[in-house]
């Protein structure tokens, strides 16, 4: 026995044998999709982390080039499947700017209302899954209870729970359904109380605080340099929200605050997103109370599909319908970069038109792609368990990363 104990380990290889390469994913529950992170470990400490993406690459940008402008809308749903209306909105705004369309106030306000509900929807999924990753099981059930209500509202509007495609170039797909005010009102009346419930479960929960405070913090300069946007950068102290700095779709008419924190850690990101939920609820309330009357689509006969009744009585309407459905509408040559604040950060569509009915090139500047790039900087030198918290706080959607 003693011989064995005293036998010296070969000194030259001692440090190498302790290193270990660990594949996290592509099928790991905390990656929320198909992400592979190759971790190089020294014991529990991460020396190097390398995200490997592309598992969900479906060539959406290529696909857009062979669709007409209106046919691209359902593809944008599938980019970020938790914030599909934000993607619909961003794409429609870009094409509308190319066309020079004026969108009526009712459509603009309805878009604000529904994108804010989308933000709530997305943040609820983030909070539920982030908490369950760290071990707080019940928060998930609470969050998905409210998410179900939001999805019912989406279903009411568009007939779909997730892939809504409700915003179209020129306005909305359909008139708002009967009784929508009641459904939104009932939800938004209860929602602030529900946020209090989540906070009761987490904010002062010692386990939650220990797992998140001081974890995966990074200085603001580094985050900016790495291309990070959205709640992550607001949690590091930068007061920047595209809804305020470059308002679109009448956001300048709404009153809300942009929550910021300075710690820049996982807990600060949690606080920022919780506060954002409260602010979004405020916006939804204002949009509901002040919803203007009027048309829900722009007066652009060559772009917006005519009403069914008109098609039966007016020849022009029938011709327009035929032309839009068969060949689409031509968009003047040019290019536009339209950015919006999606739940995850700066979402932008760069649309290049060559004057035909199909986009020449669409580049989607998706927030998850930019944010995920910062993952190595967040976790290197930290413990392996912190990776789970860090990834949860990044709130990426792999469809949004890989497109």
């Amino acid at each position: 026995m003693s011989d064995l104990v005293e036998a010296p380990a070969p000194a030259s290889t001692a440090s190498e044998t302790r290193r270990m390469t660990l594949n996290m994913g592509p099928q790991h529950p905390s990656t929320h999709g198909v992400l592979r992170v190759v971790l190089e470990l020294d014991g529990e400490t991460i020396l190097k982390a390398e995200p490997d993406i592309g598992y969900l690459h479906t060539g959406i940008e290529k696909e857009c080039e062979v669709k007409t402008y209106q046919q691209v809308v359902p593809l944008t749903d599938r980019v970020d499947y938790l914030a599909n209306l934000s993607n619909n909105l961003c794409y429609c705004l870009a094409v509308e700017r190319l066309l020079g369309l004026e969108i009526p106030p009712r459509a603009q306000w309805m878009r604000v209302l529904l994108t804010e509900l989308t933000r709530l929807n997305s943040h609820l999924v983030w909070l539920g899954t982030h908490a369950i990753d760290i071990g707080a099981m019940s928060v998930f059930l609470y969050c998905f209870r409210e998410r179900e209500d939001i999805q019912r509202i989406f279903e009411m509007f568009s007939g779909q729970r997730m892939m809504t495609s409700y915003f179209r170039v020129g306005g909305l797909a359909l008139e708002a359904p009967r009784g929508w005010q009641h459904a939104v009102d009932r939800f938004i009346r209860a929602f602030p109380g529900n946020v209090d419930e989540y906070e009761d479960l987490l904010t002062h929960n010692p386990i939650w605080v220990l797992r998140t405070q001081g974890v995966a913090a990074l200085a603001l300069e580094d985050l900016l340099d790495l291309g990070v946007t959205g709640p992550l950068i607001r949690a590091a102290g930068l007061d920047w929200d595209i809804r305020k700095s470059e308002p679109y779709s009448s956001y300048e008419k709404f009153e809300f605050e942009v929550p910021t924190r300075t710690a820049g850690d996982v807990f600060a990101r949690y606080q920022v997103r919780i506060e954002e939920m409260r602010q979004s609820a405020r916006i939804v309330r204002q949009a509901l109370d002040g919803m203007p009357e009027g048309p829900f689509q722009a007066a652009a006969p060559g772009v917006v599909l005519p009403e069914r009744e008109k098609m039966k009585t007016q020849m022009e309407a029938l011709i327009y319908h035929f032309k839009i459905v068969t060949e689409g509408f031509r968009v003047p040559a040019g290019e536009v970069y339209q950015a919006v604040e999606s739940p995850r950060g700066e979402l932008a569509y760069y649309v290049v038109s060559d004057g035909t009915a199909k986009p020449y090139r669409i580049h989607m500047r998706t927030p998850s792609f930019g944010n995920l790039q910062a993952l190595p900087a967040l976790v290197e030198g930290r413990m392996i368990a912190d990776t789970i918290a860090a990834m949860g706080s990044l709130d990426f959607v792999l469809g949004d990363v890989d497109r």
């Binding site: 340099d225 291309g227 580049h363």
Partner: protein, 162 residues
């Protein structure tokens, strides 16, 4: 020479004062300034814009394929200045047998993945990129899907041959 409209864009006029020869073409489109930059000067221009014109953010790098025109590609840089709330788009025309341009990863680390994506999907090389390899497609993939001469389907597999 910049147009009167573009002289109002501070970054554009500052860049012209610093080095007018780097700007090949400039225009304002729907309120968005677009500057065509000499590809050989791109890193110096980006460095100037970041250090002296407060463009701390690089939002994205992408490319457009104008096949069959030559030079075939435009590499597009979307810059953003938070202090001034100003956006600026830089474009570089590149083409030829071996399409290459200098990497701007030394200026913004954010460029890393975006340049890898352009390399993967368009086949444009980035000199001095620290880790230039495919990002979306598998490592052994042939071809570059976002090129205009890459078919939308039926590339690898043909029913007719069965």
């Amino acid at each position: 020479m910049l147009s009167e409209e573009l002289k109002q864009v501070r970054a554009a006029s500052a860049l012209e004062a610093w080095d007018a020869s780097a700007i090949q073409e400039a225009r304002l489109e729907r309120g968005e300034p677009i500057l065509h930059i000499d590809p050989a000067r791109i890193v110096a221009v980006c460095r100037f814009l970041k250090d002296q014109q407060q463009f701390v953010r690089l939002s994205a790098v992408t490319a457009i394929d104008w096949h069959p025109a030559e030079p075939r590609f435009e590499v597009v840089y979307q810059l953003h200045s938070l202090a001034r709330q100003e956006r600026l788009r830089l474009k570089c025309r590149v083409g030829g047998e071996q399409t290459e341009i200098d990497s701007v990863t030394g200026v913004w680390r954010a460029a890393g993945w975006y340049e890898r994506e352009v390399f993967d999907l368009f086949g444009i090389g980035f000199r001095h990129h620290p880790d230039l390899k495919r990002i979306m497609m598998p490592a052994d993939w042939q071809g570059h899907p976002l090129r205009k001469d890459y078919p939308i389907h039926g590339y690898k597999y043909s029913y007719a041959e069965e």
